[in-house]
Amino acid sequence: MKDEKQHIVSFKEHLGTYLGLLLLTALTVVVSVINADLKMITIFTALIIATTKAILVAYYFMHLKFDHKIYRIMVWIVMGLFTSFTLLTVLDYITR
């Protein structure tokens, strides 16, 4: 591990990530305006788009994709735990 050369993310990759993020931002705004009647669909699409953006930021800007895989494992475990606790709580309230 120590001998591995640090991966340098190029300016181009960062710019590409940025453009992708802008596109997704535009998409989430447009979807929220168009889907005005479908409340549940809007919140789910909004969360799915937000999560896609979050993964882009984490993998490229935060170098997760290029770092040692222990960071990826840690992040996915923490996010998985958080998501399951959120789901459990929300499902509890929805089904009351």
Partner: protein, 206 residues
């Protein structure tokens, strides 16, 4: 046997450990905001209509501009790491300054946004706020608390990057010793990540 040599008395560095420590800290931040998001989901579920009505008070244009500003700042801090790794100190420092600049732009827009809410008396404790239905009061309470806590993180992140600029100029942070810049970048991206969720959940309920 006269000399006692301490095994770690030198200036040891461990980039992996320092990055690991930063990630562990970021997890505590995720849990801090995560708890608030759970509160948000539960109350939104209990007060669907009120949350919808209250969110119309928020300015989608300003929210969208701020999202773009934060994404841009995230890119500049990420690029400043690339620049320093490639040995371009000046470009790296400039990109760090750019990040602080965008942080200030974000705060100024936030100031005007909050200002107009204050004018309408929507801050918890104000006159108009006290007469709103319970669900809308919850919405505005969460809005001010969560965006306020987020703005505090922007200020802390900006100061952190300011310190890194100084150290980069003193060449204490270089391409080979980049941990501090990387960690300030990680912190900044986390602030961006939180906003990625705050924006659709507060501004885009339609």
């Amino acid at each position: 046997m006269a000399h006692l040599v301490l095994p770690n008395s030198g200036h040891n560095r461990d980039p992996e450990a320092s990055k690991m420590g930063m990630w562990l800290f970021l997890f505590t931040e995720i849990l801090l905001f995560g708890g608030l998001f759970i509160v948000y989901f539960v109350y939104r579920n209990l007060n669907t209509e009120a949350f919808l009505n209250a969110s119309f008070e928020l300015d989608v244009t300003m929210g969208t501009i701020n999202t773009i500003v934060l994404l841009t700042s995230s890119m500049t801090i990420a690029m400043s790491i690339t620049a320093l790794q490639k040995g371009n100190l000046k470009l790296s420092v400039n990109l760090q300054w750019a990040t602080i600049f965008f942080a200030l732009v974000f705060l100024v827009i936030k100031y005007f946004e909050w200002g107009s809410k204050f004018e309408h008396g929507l801050f918890p404790g104000m006159d108009h706020y006290s007469h709103l239905p319970a669900g809308e009061r919850l919405f505005f309470f969460l809005y001010f608390f969560m965006t306020g806590l987020h703005a505090l993180h922007i200020i802390i992140g900006g100061i952190f990057i300011g310190v890194v600029i100084k150290k980069t100029k003193q060449r204490k942070v270089t391409g080979e010793r980049i941990s501090l810049l990387e960690n300030s970048g990680l912190y900044w991206h986390l602030v961006d990540l939180i906003w990625i969720y705050l924006f659709p959940l507060f501004y885009l309920i339609n």
